[in-house]
Subunit: 184 residues, 2 copies
């Protein structure tokens, strides 16, 4: 089951390395960005899991109430022969209905790009109908792994995005705000 391995890979090769350092990166960022509003509620990595595996490379392409603010400082780690491999996260600004700006550290779950591309490659072994199931399996496996991870506790929010409201051009900003406001 592809999704099972990708969820473990995402945890073992990424979240387990970066989440313990997130608080520190945000503190360094706030020190050099006086205008930044990364408050207590937004000191977690928001991880977007769209059910249809439809992933953008820039969040503002999905919703015009979202804009890219800046990147957190780089984290350099020697990994499997690559010296100083860079790990970083992007900070986005999200406007609410009153046009007030909220900041958050957010990204899509990158392994979904693999699921999407595999479903398009005939030789990879699965098609579009299985893809949705694989996304759900990815989400549940990852949720399970993260709930049992001491290093990652309280440092992330997994956000499953149902595509039924995709006709709403502000669907993504509203979903992000709901999660941010739950923490503030």
């Amino acid at each position: 089951n592809v999704a099972h391995g990708l969820a473990w890979s995402f945890y073992l090769g990424y979240l387990r390395l970066v989440l313990p350092r997130l608080e520190e990166s945000i503190a360094a960022f706030s020190a050099t960005h006086q205008a930044s509003k990364l408050g207590r509620g937004s000191r977690k990595l928001l991880i977007l899991v769209p059910l249809n595996a439809n992933i953008s490379h820039k969040l503002e392409d999905e919703d015009d109430r979202i804009s890219f603010f800046d990147n957190l400082p780089n984290n350099e780690i020697d990994r499997a022969g690559v010296r100083g491999r860079v790990y970083k996260h992007s900070v986005y600004r999200v406007l609410d209905e009153q046009k007030k700006a909220h900041e958050c550290v957010v990204e899509y779950a990158t392994p979904l790009l693999t699921l999407y591309s595999m479903s398009q490659e005939t030789s990879a072994g699965f098609g579009e109908p299985e893809r949705r199931q694989q996304v759900l399996l990815f989400y549940r496996t990852l949720q399970d792994i993260l709930e049992h991870s001491l290093e990652c506790r309280n440092r992330y929010r997994l956000i499953l995005l149902n595509d039924e409201h995709e006709d709403d051009p502000n669907f993504l900003s509203k979903a992000l705000l709901r999660h941010l406001q739950q923490q503030e």
Copy 2:
């Protein structure tokens, strides 16, 4: 089968993005590194696949005839919300039996770290006995994908490392030199 998905992920999420740019990165590197000897034979990415999934983060830890030289220039790509995600490779120097230095762009196949760690986690679903099989499946699947990939043709060498000679402290440098000399 975890290895199948990891091989596809390694191709779709990494090799397919970086191998087409490798020639260009090496040219930029040679221009700024007069002492560099990255000749025609070494303009491919050497990808190490150790059968025991035993991966070092620094190649010189494995063999004292190997030393880290420098990194190729960074490649920045917007990926799934992360702006300017950095992709880079490391250049190592390898001494032959006559103490002559050869340079190459080399790294371990990162997904093997996931296979190794999964085999240590009881909840991940497979143990050490299955791991070797999974490494072989990863190698064969990746070989198959890369052979059919137009974007990646001739830009890589997949090197399967059998662990039977690991008692030789210069096992890794000799394996690298064999592959480099085949191309010079």
